[in-house]
Amino acid sequence: MFSEKGVERLLSVIAFSAISALALIALFIFIEGIPFLLKYGIKDFLLSSDWRPESGKFGIYPMISASFWVMLGAMLVGAPFGIAGAIFLAEFTPKTVMHIIKPAIELLAAVPSVIYGFIGVVVLAPIIREVFGGPGLSLLAGAIILGIMILPTVISISIDSILAVPASFREGSLALGATIWQTVHMLTIKAAKSGIIASIILGMGRAIGETMAVIMVTGNAVMIPNSALDSVRTLTANIALEMSYATGMHREALFATGVVLFIVIIFLNAIASVVIRKKVITK
């Protein structure tokens, strides 16, 4: 059929083109965004809170702080529930039950984000408006919806890393008379720590990158939030909201927002890969 050399060459061509296509995207975003950063000034762009494209003012500090707070809020909602769920399912639930619930939860990762966003608008936002006041479409709504959206990611990866802790550890501890909970919090969680942290970092990536659901529930006001009830606009929302009407400098500024987003993602991934490598070494 194919000669060995032929196959290898074919594969290398495919690999090279796939990787260069991906590199092209990264390159493309930087080419579109960097000139603006240099022209406008990185400091002004990142640290000014004045975003008035119609009068040539492009400060994205409010969006950076909004992205940060929404991400943090999503973590506060998603991480405790996700990790608690993972521990409960992995350690205190019969294996058969877990093997049904885990895929079911993973399935929820595939529920379209627009549906989460929509439920945020019609169910969550009115509740927030009634109970706490404010416009309802707020940082709080965004944090809760994103927190729910990252649950499947956090639970699924955490379960995997808890199950990867060798059974001998657990048996050793139980044989010494420890209860399951003592074993879990003194031993299993420590051993699975890096996997759990990795799941949270991945969740953070998802939270910071989510676009449609965030546009729908956060209200998109350009302001540094004073409370969780204020309406905010994240970096992704900034791009998606305004790109369709943007021209000239405004459009370049949105690509520069993309560059900032890209760098944040690279930074998060760098942390994640350090955590994961540490896991490999300690193993």
């Binding site: 998109n220 009407y245 943007a246 021209t247």
Partner: protein, 262 residues
């Protein structure tokens, strides 16, 4: 062997499918305000001319200008009071006019705002409904995103607007209408064409936003809708634009809430 056969059939199907377009196709893109009308007109037009496909895309006025420039669409749609520099090279035809309705939730008691009040509300100077005769509730201002045709037209006509920071931003007429319909304390503005019973249109300076008042030139929040083409329209593109300008279609547009071009 069977696998190869299936693969072969599939590839053949794709090729046939891919090449199976014998129809003439015209693409419109841009303004979300005119998009629904364009779609309806396109439907009518295709019924009469079955061998032509007309595709309508949203995206916003900037997309309309860009794609008309780049050729991604033969016709760009824009709803700006004043076209930006990028559109200089393009031929523009006004096909309709559109009123901008200021809307509040139907539960709101307010019926009328003066231009000054409107300006102060959007600038954040007035931030409670009781200051302008409503209940004691904070005002939630809802506006379009920077660059939007509706927003720049609105701001240009009202003048002196520096939008309050905490304004909620939505990126289409429909989403503003939904937001206002959901929130009793909010105020926003949308294309007159998509006004419905879920929200209440306010009188501005005691003039109601109706087709009649706009035609009579009494209502001030009005902007034109442009179709943009590269060079002078010709062939199918020209036919379609001419079709939009026929009395029959202009009447249809009017019935649905837009205003005729002239």
């Amino acid at each position: 062997m069977k696998k190869h056969l299936i693969l072969f059939c599939f590839i053949t199907a794709v090729i046939f499918f891919g090449c199976g377009k014998g129809k003439v196709s015209v693409t419109l893109a841009g303004s979300t305000a005119f998009q629904p009308f364009a779609e309806k007109i396109a439907d009518e037009y295709m019924k009469a001319n079955p061998n032509i496909t007309i595709t309508v895309q949203g995206g916003g006025s900037a997309v309309g200008i860009q794609s008309a420039n780049s050729g991604a669409a033969q016709i760009g749609m824009a709803d700006l009071v004043k076209l930006p520099d990028e559109a200089k090279e393009l031929t523009s035809t006004i096909v309709a006019q559109d009123g901008i309705a200021v809307i509040v939730n139907p539960k709101n008691k307010i019926e009328n705002l003066s231009t000054e009040q409107l300006r102060d509300v959007f600038n954040g100077k007035i931030n409670n409904w009781k200051e302008i005769g409503g209940g004691d509730e904070p005002i939630t201002v809802v506006s379009r995103e920077a660059g939007s045709g509706t927003r720049s037209s609105f701001e240009k006509i009202v003048t002196g607007i520096k939008l309050v920071d905490k304004a909620v931003i939505q990126n289409s007429n429909g989403t503003i209408r939904e937001t206002v319909a959901n929130d009793e304390n909010s105020i926003g503005y949308i294309s007159h064409g998509i006004l419905n019973e879920k929200v209440k249109g306010l009188k501005i300076d005691n003039v109601e936003c109706t087709t009649e008042s706009i035609i009579a030139n009494n209502y001030k929040l009005v902007r034109p809708i442009f179709l943009l083409t590269k060079g002078t329209p010709a062939g199918e593109v020209k036919k379609f634009i001419d079709y939009i300008l026929t009395d029959e279609i202009q009447l249809m547009i009017k019935k649905d809430g837009l205003l005729p071009a002239k």
